[in-house]
């Protein structure tokens, strides 16, 4: 119960000010497409060089949690996820906004983020030693099977037709192979200098989601619609809270999935939201409501991606191995103050680390309050006429894409993918499976190649991939996931004919 003693350090005026500033800035940066949590934390790190260790970490932690939640704001209001972690939020969140329930959707987003976030931090506080051991057990084969498990989700995420979902996913997997392959040390499909560094996931995310949205808005303008696009009704936050907290199943699944995925180094929070969304959808009584503005979809996705934050620090703090790309950037923030992750960190620098962890809890409260405040005023964004909206999204899309790695090539890739996606969406294709394919492709391939090399040096590849408890569990889960989809499809057909 060490952590309770250090709350006093958090409640100093200076630290509260940092938390307030970090959370507000984080929510806003997170809402901008392209400024993913990783980017936001990397941007703020140089400022912490001159701070005291605990102050610097408090600022970084507040930014981290707030940007993850902030990405949901744009996902819900304009159907452009701020970061890959918020894709699943857009599926039902934007649908709710179209129905005039934007503020309700945002309320669900922030309550679920809060519950998930607190759950994740409690996991970090109480289960760090056993989880750190678990994290190390995830080698190449385990990560390969996780990616395969993720791929089974592709067919059903965000699209009405499984076939179209699979085709979109395949397209994503295919373009993920462009560029450098770190395992082979070779370049593939680089026909132009612009493709040299491959398809960056965030550039693809912006192109696939934002551009079709812009073009659709322009269509609205041509139809002569210059007013407010959607009806708007304000909902009371306590009513939303009441509803949200009663959705215990979605919250529980989301928080657990997020926490587990967060601990696994290399899987990253990008897939936490999607996996949780899929699980909640599969176990729901009304799976057909998903994608039509089902609050459970938002609740699962947002509780998962915030529950990922705390556990992603477990392998970082104990093993110096970050659980997510953002945690990897945080490592720099620790090192600059001479805080070397490892078993000694909690004994030698207990005060700083516990203050940091406590501040994460307080940051969740700030995030909730500021988030609810912003939700009240979300109507402003919904009232923007489509022509202005299209122009602003376009500016943000180009700016955000360029800012990822100061690369003009990324902007071109974003534009091309966006135009393709616009026409594909007319045919009923959805962007979510493409993004999932781009995320999972490299995880599956790199870990397969690594596992192949290691397996060949040992008892052979087949033995290596099909032995070990975690591998077997993951294979069973993969088979189960496919079997369940088939079964559910069958049942649905029966119900339809009956």
């Amino acid at each position: 119960m060490d952590f309770i003693n250090y709350f006093g350090n958090v409640f100093t005026p200076y630290h509260l000010m940092l938390l307030l500033g970090g959370t507000t800035a984080g929510l806003m940066l997170g809402a901008l497409p392209g400024l993913s949590p990783t980017m936001a934390v990397a941007l703020i790190i140089p400022f912490t060089f001159h701070m005291q260790p605990d102050s610097g970490l408090i600022l970084l932690g507040a930014m981290y949690t707030a940007t993850v939640a902030g990405g949901a704001i744009s996902a819900i209001l304009v159907n452009v996820p701020g970061a890959p972690a918020n894709i699943a939020t857009a599926l039902d969140g934007h649908e709710m906004a179209r129905q005039g329930r934007a503020s309700e959707a945002l309320h669900f987003c922030f309550f679920s983020s809060f519950v998930g976030g607190i759950f994740g931090i409690l996991i970090l506080i109480f289960f760090t030693p056993p989880l750190a051991e678990l994290a190390l057990k995830f080698g190449p084969t385990e990560l390969f099977w996780i990616a395969i498990l993720g791929i089974t989700v592709i067919g059903t995420i965000g699209s009405k037709s499984v076939l179209k979902g699979l085709m979109a996913g395949l397209f994503g997997l295919a373009i993920s192979t462009i560029g450098d392959n770190p395992m082979l040390g070779e370049q593939r499909f680089v026909y132009s200098d612009h493709l040299e560094s491959g398809i960056h996931i965030v550039a693809a995310l912006i192109g696939l989601f934002a551009l079709p949205q812009i073009l659709t808005l322009l269509e609205e303008c041509r139809k002569g619609n210059r007013g407010s696009m959607y009806a708007l009704s304000q909902s009371r936050w306590y009513q939303s809270m009441n509803y949200n907290l009663r959705r215990a199943k979605a919250l529980t699944i989301g928080s657990f999935v997020g926490a587990i995925v967060g601990v696994i180094p290399g899987a990253g929070g990008q897939i936490a939201g999607l996996v949780a969304y899929d699980q909640v959808k599969k176990t729901s009584d009304n799976p057909l409501n998903f994608g039509q503005g089902e609050p459970d979809g938002i609740i699962a996705a947002e509780s998962a991606n915030n529950a990922m934050v705390g556990p992603s620090l477990v392998p970082l703090l104990t093993l110096s191995i970050p659980g997510s790309p953002t945690a990897a950037v945080l490592l720099g923030g620790l090192l600059i103050h001479g805080l070397f992750p490892g078993p000694d960190l909690f004994t030698m620098h207990g005060e700083v680390i516990w203050t940091f962890i406590d501040s994460l809890i307080v940051a969740q409260v700030f995030m909730l309050v500021i988030g609810l405040f912003l939700s009240r005023h979300s109507g402003w964004i919904m009232k923007v006429p489509p022509n202005y909206m299209a122009a602003s999204i376009l500016v943000l899309a180009v700016f955000g894409t360029y800012s990822i790695q100061s690369s003009y090539s990324d902007v071109l890739i974003m534009m091309v993918l966006g135009v393709i996606m616009y026409f594909a969406s007319k045919l009923g294709f959805s962007p979510a499976p493409v993004v999932l394919g781009i995320i999972l492709g490299p995880i599956a391939e790199d870990n397969f190649l690594q596992g192949k090399l290691i397996g060949e040096a040992g008892d052979g590849m087949f033995n290596y991939f099909f032995s070990g408890t975690i591998n077997l569990v993951l294979i069973l889960a993969t088979v189960g996931s496919i079997a369940y989809s088939v079964y559910a499809g069958h049942k649905m057909k029966k119900r339809a004919t009956a």
């Binding site: 990397a42 790190i45 080698g139 200098d193 040299e196 093993l319 720099g332 600059i336 290691i454 040096a457």
Partner: protein
């Protein structure tokens, strides 16, 4: 108010005048380098080891005293152009960066050179000019905490009777660790299996998790992780201050030299005025406050430069 239109003649005059003023300004600029902030291009993601160390190494440039910047004369900012293992940024640098000293780039030797040999790159050793190293990070041979090997010699003996069975992780292909691995194989006359990891962190994880039998990794990272792993040998000419008890390969009779040592530093495009290079070399990197920060963050400093 009506906009006043310039007569053609006065327009030309104005153009000539402003041209002259600009010319005059640019000569002044050259005389008083630097008069605006200086950029450093890092070819890796923000938050990575190179980015992080580049930021520390240039930290002192932002120190102000009496209304002026004390070290270089201007603050230094970092821009990241990651991609294709660093080639994206370095190609851009050799191809597009101005040769006026306002854009520097961070390098990683030998990684940077190995890449230019293996791939068709726009940069090469001839079109770039080093300013100075800020650090040197040798490769070390590591094994897990519970490994059967307690010394590099034991590992060599085992590999001799089990060729191709010892898996060795490293940060990737064509990087310092890969070179150290190849040198080690050749010098000891053994056959190992190289497993490229996802960067140094990924390679370290494979060792700690027991997925590979051994690995090459950065001395700085290995020294920090000393409680979780065993460090068997250093691929450098001398022992390192951070690990005084760890022998070099040479001491063990395995002739691996310092070719794989990871030097990090700053460079400019060839054609940058020598005066500018000298100014940068004198003022940017080797300030005592930076060195203190480097030590505190466990970033090994180069002892190969004065």
């Amino acid at each position: 108010m009506k906009p006043t239109k310039l007569k053609p003649s006065s327009a030309i005059l104005l153009a000539m005048l402003s041209g002259a003023v600009l010319l005059g300004l640019s000569t002044v600029t050259r005389a008083e380098y630097p008069d605006r902030p200086i950029g450093v291009m890092v070819a890796y993601n923000p938050g990575g080891a190179t980015d992080f160390q580049a930021r520390i190494a240039t930290l002192a440039s932002a120190k102000e005293k009496d209304g002026g910047f004390v070290s270089v004369g201007q603050p230094i900012y970092v821009i990241n152009k990651p991609g294709a293992g660093g080639r994206k940024g370095w190609n851009w640098f050799a191809d597009k960066a101005a040769k006026d000293g306002y854009m520097l780039a961070a390098y990683n030797v030998p990684h940077f050179i190995a890449q230019s040999i293996v791939f068709d790159t726009k940069y090469n050793v001839d079109n770039l000019e080093p300013v100075g190293n800020w650090g040197a990070d040798p490769a070390v041979l590591i094994v897990g905490k519970d490994s059967q090997f307690n010394s590099a010699t034991e590992l060599v003996d085992y590999a001799k009777s089990n060729p191709g069975k010892v898996t060795v992780s490293g940060a990737g292909k064509f990087v310092g660790h890969h070179i150290a691995h190849l040198q080690f194989e050749k010098a000891a006359g053994i056959k190992l299996k190289y497993v490229p990891g996802k960067g140094g962190v990924g390679a370290m994880k494979l060792v700690k998790g027991g997925q590979v039998k051994a690995g090459f990794n950065n001395l700085s990272d290995a020294a920090r992780a000393a409680t979780d792993i065993k460090i068997l040998a250093v691929a450098d000419l001398e022992r390192h201050d951070f690990l005084p008890d760890v022998p070099t390969f040479k001491e063990l009779g395995i002739s691996v030299d310092n070719s794989s040592v990871n030097f990090r530093g700053l460079m400019v495009p060839k054609g940058t005025p020598q005066a500018v290079i000298d100014h940068l070399a004198k003022s940017v990197l080797f300030r005592t406050e930076n060195i203190g920060k480097m030590k505190q963050t466990n970033s090994p400093r180069s002892h190969h430069v004065s």
